[in-house]
């Protein structure tokens, strides 16, 4: 019988090892877990670009782009009124470091006040830190809604043969390496306090018996230390007094040390402000979109959207791209991945209203689970980027009802 159970145990161990060893490494950040309509109706990402895809440790690259909080923001997120946001970087841990961030041209170390419908042009300088190949995204976190991912890119961080430091300049003078600043002192302090505690425990548990004391303690009141019976002696009291005094002196010494070594300190900071609006937000609105409908053909992996576009400006305008969630389709003539074909043509004359048919033949809609068939809201939402012959741009939001085909 024992042999049988041993066999079961071995079988369970082998099965467990097989399961664990066959697990594939995690490749993404779970963005597909969010419903399609949520990803498309919240933040619109335009012109997201990574300046490099390979850096050394300590070497920087920039992520730039524009994020728009869509007017279509769902009422069931942040109570329909997003007011606090944080633009940052999503990566598998601190494999990269955020070194600088500007939003609408202003340095933004921390969170910002946000509003539905507003545009945020961001630029983040990111440094490579841990060697490896990492998928990095810009992200826009909104209080009450969560974190919404922008388009990602694989970044390779190579080892820096000259070494790697993360330098920060102190106001009081001097530059520190944040990778290991004061680490030795911190460990020494924690270890010293730990050793005092260990000494206290050894004092009580090594010379004195433990388990057999119960025979005595079970017969005496709780509020006595058993001195009469030898459980605790006057010598124990004296020694513990010395422990307490020694610990107090250590704390005093530590306090004096930090007061002298680091005389200038300040509380942790909270920075929150509303960045100014970018130039594009002040541009005259010349492009409008309305009455949109969309269809998705699973057989040909094609999303087709019909939308009435009006050019109320004085110059011809052209549809340059369409973005939905973190997908981007650039206007072209031949259908294919990442290409948007506009019919009858991408250009709309001034004063004209045209029914544009946008055709996007790309399996990415299904791969990223952005076709909301089977969800509670059949909507395709995105941004159409128009540019007129005067060089002005409009980011025009469009929301199309998706007409599902059930076959």
């Amino acid at each position: 019988m024992l042999r049988r159970y041993r066999r079961y145990l071995w079988a369970a161990l082998v099965a467990g090892a097989l399961v664990v060893s066959s697990a594939l490494p995690a490749q993404a950040h779970g963005e597909r877990a969010q419903e399609a309509f949520l990803r498309m109706r919240t933040i619109g990402w335009v012109d997201v670009a990574f300046s490099k895809d390979t850096v050394r440790q300590g070497e920087t690259f920039t992520i730039t782009g524009t994020a728009k909080i869509l007017d279509a923001w769902p009422t069931n997120l942040a109570k329909g009124n997003p007011n606090t946001g944080y633009i940052a970087v999503i990566a598998p841990g601190p494999v990269v470091m955020l070194k600088e961030r500007t939003i609408n041209g202003v340095s933004a170390p921390s969170r910002i006040d946000i509003q539905k419908g507003r545009i945020y042009e961001f630029s983040m300088t990111v440094a490579g830190r841990r060697t490896g190949r990492w998928h990095v995204h810009p992200s826009f976190s909104v209080k009450g809604a969560g974190t919404l991912l922008g388009p990602g890119q694989w970044i390779t961080v190579q080892e820096n043969p000259d070494g790697f430091t993360n330098d920060v300049k102190l106001v009081g003078g001097g530059t520190i390496n944040l990778e290991n600043y004061q680490l030795t002192f911190t460990w020494i302090w924690l270890v010293i306090t730990f050793l005092i505690g260990l000494a206290w425990m050894i004092y009580w548990t090594v010379p004195k018996r433990t388990v057999t004391n119960l025979a005595v303690t079970s017969q005496i009141p709780l509020n006595t230390d058993g001195m009469a019976y030898g459980l605790i002696t006057k010598k124990d009291h004296r020694n513990m007094n010395w422990f307490a005094i020694g610990t107090a002196l250590l704390l005093v010494a530590g306090w004096l040390y930090q007061a002298n070594a680091f005389p200038t300190k300040m509380p942790l900071q909270v920075i929150q402000f509303a960045p100014p609006q970018p130039a594009i937000a002040e541009e005259a609105v010349f492009a409008k979109a309305a009455g949109a409908n969309a269809q998705y053909d699973s057989a040909t992996k094609t999303m087709t959207m019909e939308v009435d576009v009006t050019n109320s400006g004085s110059a011809p305008m052209e549809l340059k791209e369409f973005t939905a969630a973190y997908l981007k389709f650039t206007t072209g003539t031949t259908a294919g991945p990442g290409v948007l074909v506009a019919a009858p043509q991408a250009t709309v004359d001034p004063g004209a209203t045209t029914k544009l048919t946008l055709t996007m033949k790309d399996p990415v809609w299904e791969e990223e689970l952005l076709v909301p068939i089977g969800e509670s809201q059949l909507l395709v939402t995105g941004i159409m980027v128009f540019e007129n012959t005067e060089g002005k741009r409009n980011l025009t939001e469009v929301e199309a009802n998706l007409q599902p085909r059930f076959e």
Binding site: G85, P94, P109, S141, T147, V171, R209, T210, P267
Partner: protein
């Protein structure tokens, strides 16, 4: 003074040699219980005060001194009751502190350091050892759980803060960053990416606490010490009702 027979009898019992129980029992108990106690204390701390313990940029002067002493005194208080009741050892709090420190340290090193590569000077764990020594010392001196809950808990909270402010101090220095002056800890929090913890989730002082002449720190300490008293009795309940009482149901004499 003549010693009565009962006292002599109990003295003999203290030093009695047992046939089947030797010091190995003590060693097995102390060593194996350390894993359970360390895990229980660490989990309790993480559930109540996790982020405040994980990151330097959460160790503020308002929430950190209020929440953390409450979180860490609970299991120590339970162990204090058990170890004093069973053996008259004033070691419960210190034993918890030592075991928890080892558990936290291993966890921090492996999980936060080796697995995800956060720098250790950003995620170092707070220590409760010095505070625990004072709490145990107060129990030894007063022999009273009521007095220990008041004097010991308050001393615990204050000592805990002093013993952890010393290693925290360097990270509260002002530094220039992104056209602003912020602390070194703030920079750590922003530079070392925490993907699912946007900055607005950081629960620290926002300046809304009414303070006496701007001394947020000391107002929080006093409140934290009071809250620690409540935490102490939560631990006493765990020790008495959930640990000792069930054992007493099965033992003829306690």
């Amino acid at each position: 003074m003549a010693t009565d027979a009962r006292t002599l009898e109990l003295r003999e019992l203290v030093n009695k040699k047992y046939k089947y129980i030797d010091r190995k029992w003590d060693a097995v108990f102390w060593i194996t219980a350390a894993f359970v106690v360390g895990a229980a204390a660490d989990i309790t701390k993480q559930l109540f005060a996790g982020d405040w313990d994980f990151w330097t940029d959460w160790k503020d002067r308002q929430w950190w001194p209020i929440i953390t002493p409450f979180a860490i005194i609970i299991i120590g208080s339970a162990l204090q009751y058990i170890q004093w009741l069973a053996w008259r050892f004033p070691t419960g709090m210190t034993y918890t502190a030592v075991a928890m420190f080892l558990a936290t340290l291993i966890g921090r090193w492996i999980q936060w350091g080796a697995f995800v590569y956060y720098p250790m000077n950003f995620v170092w764990p707070a220590t409760m050892v010095a505070a625990a020594i004072f709490a145990d010392w107060v129990l030894l001196k007063t022999k009273s759980f009521v007095l220990t809950s008041i004097i010991g808990s308050m001393l615990f909270a204050f000592t805990w803060w002093v013993s952890n402010y010393v290693p925290l101090a360097p990270y509260l220095q002002p530094a220039e960053w992104m056209d602003r002056v912020i602390t070194v800890a703030d920079i750590q929090g922003i530079e070392y990416v925490r993907s699912q913890t946007p900055e607005y989730l950081r629960i620290i002082e926002h300046g809304s606490l009414r303070t006496f002449l701007g001394e947020t720190q000391y107002v929080s300490l006093i409140f934290g010490a009071t809250v620690a008293v409540a935490g102490y009795w939560v631990g006493q309940f765990i020790g008495r009702a959930l640990a000792i009482w069930p054992i007493g149901r099965f033992m003829k004499k306690w």
